[in-house]
Subunit: 439 residues, 2 copies
């Protein structure tokens, strides 16, 4: 008998890799934060004894969900303004509110709320784009959650930095801050083609190569952005980015609702990634990302919730379901984006886009133990014919009972272990009152 | 002090009528199953004492959700087959399975599972279309849930009836069975234009008038249905229905994804209703219902989940959110179907379509006490700037804690009071094993 840190026995395990596999009555052995073994429960009971052992015959284990695009701190603006198109929503409401409120404290409190919501819903890793990424990084480490913090760059001054050089300079400092972190990595995060000019973009291409990190950017979110790009630069934004050298395996192009066949082919050839945010695209009427066509062309498509100000949740189970449903409607084909492909988008494809696929995104021996336990024996998920279909089409985040990140038990029987729920609620209410009183 | 049966004090009440209103710190007094009064909590405490009194400062009260189109018993086929287009899904999977399994026992067990799921998610009334509606009616009464049972008519023989005359004849018997029921009413439910021929449809027009009940029918679900209708009848299905006299204020036309401007105008002029089922339409790639254009034309649009075999849940909170998001994407306008309009669709519009708007659909004195309490102080719904936006965009059904139908407390602190959850789970699992073993 070998002694391990943790042993989890489950009714079902969906490892995501290999493809479409559902293992019944299997167990996972965790040692030093990593998956040591994944084997039939009968064998696991013979082979291992554990400090922490969990019997979950009614639960399914799956890899932690990866939210490949969010603005965590914006959770403090959840539902502040709805039912408006992107540019009005941004310029008349969100940007003024951010101008007034964004501070280290705001980012800390908003990101903490977001991380609590994500962990409760089975998200173990998020790719963030916001101001004060140093705060987000510190908080992720304290909480024990995996995060890619965005080194944001935008042409206009904010509370975080005054000009593109300062944004980049501060980005370097954040990258230094986390360079030994086992949980937090960085990505350059130029906001979008319409908010970042050529010079900083060229620098980002160079520095991303130097630091060996991804580039995370809103691209072709709306038709308006494309039209405006043509007016300003004489070409579609994606062509401009390609000329600047940004369209590469480092790029996570978020949204991508406006794409012609050539652009899909160029993106595929460049091995650049797409992050699909279906609910935000619908809510802001930004357009429809051609998900099935991208997959057919061989593009790696990940999934994100966007911020809670435009969603209005950070629910990757819901996002996965919306992605699977919407892709069929958009393709006019009910076999488009079948359940397993949607699950891939929410897990391993996100890891791949973020350069983390050796670390997480699937339940494979040697990877980090980023694991979610989902209750499958409630009324809402019965009967159960196909576990993966059930996960995508019938399971909601409230069925998540336990979450481990790097083997650490961050959600235990639906209770957060490293975050203080009451304090987070209290803080959210205080911000609510401030924003209401002074808006 | 007047003594009433029940008094509920809540942080917020969204009565749905009048439009867009949010009442803070208000209470509802219930007497004999009806809403007696709706007033500020301070006054309520002075004026009423109650046998059952509930203090819910962190909760919001809203009218029970009305699922205007479902096939409750099909919950036993949840996730049986996914990712297939409508006609293949029906003819190769669902219809053969129904031919083999549908029986009074199947309908009883499936409908009980469905009702449990709906009640737990805040749905108090459903409009059902399935075989053995006598069983559904009996079960709804036993459970205390409001239902409109469909007197189904279809050209081909099933376990329920052999030919259209027998379908209609059995429908009359079900109508007689429930005529004194305070909770259950009926609607004729001819399956669809492609499955019911002219003669029975003409009889249904006549008998619906005679019995004064609605007519509930799938109409223009797919482009294929329209093309086939033109081939067979030389006209689009909706034109054929109009000529047969079916397009009237009695009609609930379900799906309606294929509509030209004339058809929208004719539907509006006839005061006929539409039941929108966005998630089923997406999942089966049936097409997009032009919801905002229908609303602009003055059509009353209600909301339904369809059956759990094609959704795969009976979650009206989710459906309301999907409807609000998708309508914006389809209209290309982020101000389309704002939160309050989506809430109307899920409540009062459903009541109106079913001829029940004097009974339910809003929290107004004199109506039945069909009330849902929703927890609004969890992480996922904080901060809270606009209660109606939060209900539609950020609240999921797991926040429903209590449900009353006609004043009876059917869900109490998330526990069903008239249905045996363990027995339902056990039965669902037995059906699952039968369907797996013998398919």
């Amino acid at each position: 008998m070998k002694t391990v840190d943790t042993l989890i026995h489950a009714g079902w395990i969906v490892p995501v890799e290999p493809e479409s596999v559902v293992l019944e009555q299997h167990s996972i052995a965790i040692q030093d934060g990593h998956i040591l073994d994944l084997l039939p429960t009968a064998e696991a009971r013979d082979r291992y004894q554990a400090e922490h052992e969990f019997d979950k015959p009614g639960h399914l284990l799956m890899p932690g969900l990866i939210n490949a695009h969010t603005h965590a701190a914006m959770s403090l603006m959840r539902g502040l303004t709805d039912d408006l198109p992107l540019m009005r929503w941004l310029s008349e409401h969100i940007w003024p509110a951010e101008g007034k409120w964004v501070s280290p404290e705001f980012v800390r409190d908003g990101s903490r709320l977001a991380m609590a919501e994500m962990l409760r819903g089975g998200t173990t890793c998020f790719n963030d784009m916001y101001f004060f990424p140093d705060e987000v990084a510190r908080l992720a480490e304290q909480t024990g959650m995996r995060a890619v913090v965005g080194l944001i760059v935008i042409d206009f001054p904010t509370a975080w930095a005054q000009d593109s050089d300062e944004y980049i300079h501060k980005g370097f400092a954040v990258h230094d801050q986390v360079k030994h972190s086992p949980l937090v990595t960085t990505a350059f995060a130029p906001h979008g083609p319409y908010t970042v000019s050529d010079e900083p973009l060229q620098k980002i291409v160079m520095y991303a190569e130097e630091l060996d990190i991804p580039v995370h950017m809103h691209v072709h979110e709306t038709a308006h952005e494309v039209t405006e790009g043509i007016q300003q630069h004489g070409k579609r934004p994606l062509s401009r980015l390609a000329e600047l050298g940004l369209v590469s395996p480092r790029l996570l192009a978020v949204h991508m609702t406006q794409l012609d066949e050539d652009e899909i082919a160029i993106h595929a050839d460049a091995n650049a990634h797409v992050v699909h945010c279906p609910e935000s695209n619908l809510k802001l009427a930004s357009g429809f990302c051609p998900v099935q066509r991208l997959l057919d062309a061989g593009v790696n498509v990940a999934l994100g919730t966007d911020g809670a100000a435009s969603n209005n949740d950070l629910d990757m189970f819901g996002e996965m379901r919306t992605a699977a449903l919407l892709a069929k409607g958009v393709a006019g084909d009910a076999s488009a984006l079948p359940a397993y492909r949607a699950l891939e988008m929410a897990t391993i494809n996100g890891a791949r886009a973020l350069g983390l696929d050796a670390v997480c995104g699937s339940l494979v021996a040697g990877k980090a133990a980023d694991i979610v336990a989902v209750k499958m024996d409630d009324l809402e998920t019965q009967p159960l014919y196909h576990a993966i279909s059930q996960l995508v089409y019938a399971t909601a985040r409230d069925k998540v009972s336990d979450v481990w990140v790097a083997g650490r038990h961050l959600l235990k029987d639906s209770q957060l272990t490293t975050l203080d729920e009451a304090a987070i609620l209290d803080t959210a209410r205080r911000w609510q009152n401030r924003l209401i009183e002074q808006s």
